[in-house]
Structure formats: structure tokens, C-alpha cells
């Protein structure tokens, strides 16, 4: 399931609902991304996440479909927020449910790695020196690429 929304989400409720009632599920894995208060050597007061409505949902659905093809998942959830967020606020939740931990953990890592390089979101950071668009990082491309060879 894909949700792209401005509002926060209830982490406990979302994870509890993942695969609920499906007794084949033996493990649930999750990743939660938060806004840091520092970027490099600059304090960050807040950030604004912009996205491409329409394409965002399409890309996230494709990424979910790819994960379901590679691993036997019983359930899968991606929630990504947009708008202005302050340090400590949640940005993204990726959750997976599977019969065994390996599929759940690997698929979860795959989903966040691919999301970071393929889903059309952009971060604008507010610092004391003004606002600046966050640049893409080569390490994120490398993290995504390690799943391509499979």
C-alpha cells in the first residue's frame, strides 16, 4: 500500500495493521526516516518536501511491485510525507511483513534504497544562511545500485 500525505502517521497503528490477521506472517520489518537538525556543518531549522503528484504514487507503486516480485511478502506499506517538517518529525515509513525475517528485512532495505533514488521528492532545507535544495548523494546511488545486480 502506498500513501503520500502531508499529515503525520501513527507508527504503532500502521505497524500493527501490517499483515494483521494473516497467520502466515512471521516477521514485520520497518524503516522510519526522520528530519535531522544538522546537515553537514549547518543547523537545519526545518525542511520542505516537494513532490510530483501523480508520478510519485506511480513510482512508489512500481517500487513496491518490484519488491513483491523479488521477495515473498505478505504485506508492504510505504508512507511518505510532503510539506514543511521540523527536526524530529517523521518523513517516511517503509514496512514489510513476510513469513521469515530475511525477506522482510531485505525487502525493507531495498524499498528505502530504491525510494531514495527513484521517487520524485526534493528537500529544501532552511538554515541560518538561507534556504538551499539538498543535493543528491553518490552514496545513495551506490546503495540503490547494490540491488541491481541481483
Amino acid at each position: 500500500m502506498i500513501k503520500v500525505q502531508r499529515e503525520d502517521f501513527d507508527l504503532g497503528a500502521e505497524l500493527s495493521a501490517l499483515g494483521r490477521g494473516n497467520l502466515r506472517v512471521g516477521g514485520v520489518a520497518s524503516f522510519v526516516g526522520l528530519v535531522r537538525d544538522i546537515a553537514g556543518d549547518q543547523a537545519v531549522g526545518a525542511m520542505t518536501l516537494e513532490h510530483y503528484p501523480g508520478m510519485t504514487e506511480k513510482m512508489l507503486a512500481k517500487i513496491e511491485a518490484e519488491a513483491r516480485q523479488r521477495w515473498q511478502l505478505e504485506d508492504c506499506l510505504i508512507i511518505h510525507r510532503f510539506g514543511r517538517l521540523e527536526p524530529g518529525e517523521r518523513i517516511v515509513l517503509v514496512g514489510t511483513a513476510a513469513a521469515h525475517r530475511q525477506a522482510a528485512l531485505e525487502a525493507c532495505a531495498f524499498l528505502i534504497d530504491w525510494l531514495k533514488t527513484k521517487a520524485p521528492f526534493w528537500k529544501l532545507e532552511e538554515t541560518a544562511g538561507g534556504s538551499r535544495w539538498v543535493a543528491a548523494r553518490a552514496s545513495d546511488d551506490e546503495a540503490a545500485a547494490r540491488w541491481s545486480a541481483r
Binding site: 516537494e50 510530483y52 520524485p120 521528492f121 543535493a135 543528491a136
Partner: protein
């Protein structure tokens, strides 16, 4: 054709969205970018280094040689930074 600009491409061009009738001869993403660059100003600045510009045609990532047509939605944006 509908053109969309995101993040600093929007800031630099000063435009979030525009409708364009592509002139004859503009048949690919690369041709469209050349056409936009020729406007000069913020467009030329935003599109001067294509290594940091990504393109989507009809909400799918596209390469420079991809054909485009009048009814397409073409988006120009920087490498993504979500998550």
C-alpha cells in the same frame, strides 16, 4: 504539451507549469531542452548542466533521445532527494 518544473528548476525558470506548442523540429527531449535553453535567462541557467537535470515524460523517467509529442506531459527536475 504540458511542461512542469520542480525544485530548483522551478526557482531558476520562475515557472512551475506552462503549456507549449512545440515548434516543428522539436521531436525529442534533447530538442525540447535546446528550445527552452534558447529562451535564455533563467531557462538557460537552469538547463546549462544536464548532468544535474532529470526528465520524465508522461510521469516516467526518460532519456534525452526519447521522442515527444504534442499531448505529452514533460517534467524537468533535479536528481531526487526523498526518503
Amino acid at each position: 504539451m504540458k511542461l512542469l518544473y520542480f525544485a530548483w528548476l522551478r526557482s531558476k525558470t520562475g515557472v512551475a507549469e506552462e503549456t507549449l506548442s512545440p515548434p516543428p523540429g522539436v521531436t525529442t527531449v534533447a530538442g525540447l531542452i535546446e528550445h527552452l535553453r534558447a529562451r535564455g535567462g533563467g531557462y538557460a541557467d537552469a538547463l546549462k548542466d544536464l548532468s544535474c537535470v532529470r526528465v520524465a515524460v508522461n510521469q516516467e523517467f526518460a532519456e534525452l533521445d526519447q521522442p515527444i509529442a504534442a499531448g505529452d506531459e514533460v517534467a524537468l527536475f533535479p536528481p531526487v532527494t526523498g526518503g
